[in-house]
Amino acid sequence: MTEAPTPLWEVFVRSRNGLAHKHAGSVHAADAQMALQAARDVYTRRGEGLSVWVVPSNAITASDPADREMLFEPTGSKIYRHPTFYEVPDEVGHM
């Protein structure tokens, strides 16, 4: 039996107003509306959310873990991007 595969969606849930949506998991659904319904049933059975986003999984472009050093290492040496790099006279107090 060869059935057509049902598309995969990534689910993001906002648990409280004031917080960003956070990745919760994924669901399979034929279309966006059914994906939302499934996401609600699967990921918010105990008041975990006030808002749900579903995104087709194949619409996400992800960085390659192999590029991790190239992408993220350079910031390691840029300590002048942090406030603690700068000297402020003690008498001035908290800044």
Binding site: P5, T6, G25, A30, M34, V42, R45, P65
Partner: protein, 329 residues
């Protein structure tokens, strides 16, 4: 546990890339989590796919023995709780399938492995639920055993599996408590009710102990799984924790474990059990349990009956897509 069949032997292939594998192991040793696109040894991926999908299948098949009693629950309160519990188990299956899919298998593939009987699921779900007390016993013992096994899995080295387990563990506590509450009620009820509770305990106790898998002396899979921090405790360690936790719970409500050899060892502080019938375990895993056929037949039947729904939903989605495209043109 829900993945007992992993305890069968598998030929370990030679390291594909020793240097890479050493770096991988160093990350694991440093308690770093492995994420889906990270490099991983093929055997690690394979072990996880099998373990996670077997775990998912167990959740899904596990809906059947309890679903059997939804329409016959003795009160609306019990019915609502059981319905919510069975729905949770369906949810657990779905979180886990999603985690397995991050390793490069499709939902269709793993579903097909279950339907065709090639994949295993926990032996415990091949026993019948004969009375209402079985529902109490399952929540108390089967979910209780599952919790013992699943809490350490929340720290599993594979990120998506660990995250799914955290979500599951948060939901399991209710399952166990509602089960024990049923047992408390029956044990404090009429003599017939108490007898029913004891009878269910008699039938489920040994299969519950088998959920943890073969004794450490016979388990061939644990070493690698321990080294990879997929598993953090051995079968026997988890089984012992479970026994130590549940024996006092049974005694508290005047029920007795059906084990004449059960005794408390003052020196070790542990409850010691009599011999487990591993022949029965092997038989049930191999398909010879009381309900193996029924469980799989039912799963196949409902899957086939749902085919037109999946087809119709996809056809509708396709039609909508064509319509939007036309409007845009």
């Amino acid at each position: 546990m829900y993945t007992q069949a992993l305890n069968t032997k598998e030929t370990v292939t030679a390291a594909e890339d020793p240097a890479r594998e050493a770096r991988f192991q160093a990350r694991i040793d440093a308690e770093d989590r492995i994420e889906p696109n990270d490099w991983m040894p093929e055997a690690y991926r394979r072990t996880l796919v099998r373990q996670i999908s077997q775990h998912a299948h167990s959740e899904i098949i596990g809906m059947q023995p309890e679903g059997n009693w939804i329409t016959r629950a003795p009160s609306l309160r019990r019915k609502a709780a059981l319905l919510a519990k069975v729905q949770d188990e369906g949810g657990h299956g779905l979180y886990l399938y999603a985690a397995a899919e991050t390793l490069g298998v499709s939902r269709e593939e793993v579903t097909d492995q279950l339907l065709s009987g090639r994949a295993k699921y926990s032996s415990i779900f091949n026993y019948p639920t004969l009375t209402w007390a079985d529902i109490g016993t399952i929540g108390w013992l089967v979910d209780g055993a599952a919790i013992m096994n699943q809490i350490p899995l929340c720290r599993c080295s594979y990120g998506p599996y660990a995250r799914a387990m955290i979500r599951i563990c948060r939901e399991e506590s209710f399952h166990q408590r509602q089960g024990y509450e049923i047992m408390v009620t029956l044990a404090n009820g009429t003599p017939e009710q108490k007898e029913m509770a004891q009878d269910a305990l008699n039938r489920w106790w040994w299969p519950s102990l088998m959920m943890f898998g073969p004794p450490d002396t016979a388990s061939q899979h644990s070493d690698k799984s321990m080294q990879w921090k997929i598993k953090r405790f051995s079968n026997d360690e988890l089984r012992q924790k479970f026994i130590d936790a549940t024996v006092p719970q049974a005694r508290h409500i005047g029920l007795t474990m059906p084990d004449p050899d059960m005794r408390f060892n003052e020196a070790t502080g542990h409850w010691e059990h009599g011999p487990i019938d591993w022949e029965e375990f092997k038989r049930v895993i191999a398909g010879g349990g009381p309900c193996n056929r029924q469980r799989l037949t039912h799963r196949n039947k409902v899957h086939a009956e749902g085919a037109w729904v999946r087809e119709a939903a996809l056809a509708f989605a396709e039609k909508e897509r064509a319509r939007t495209q036309q409007k845009a043109a």
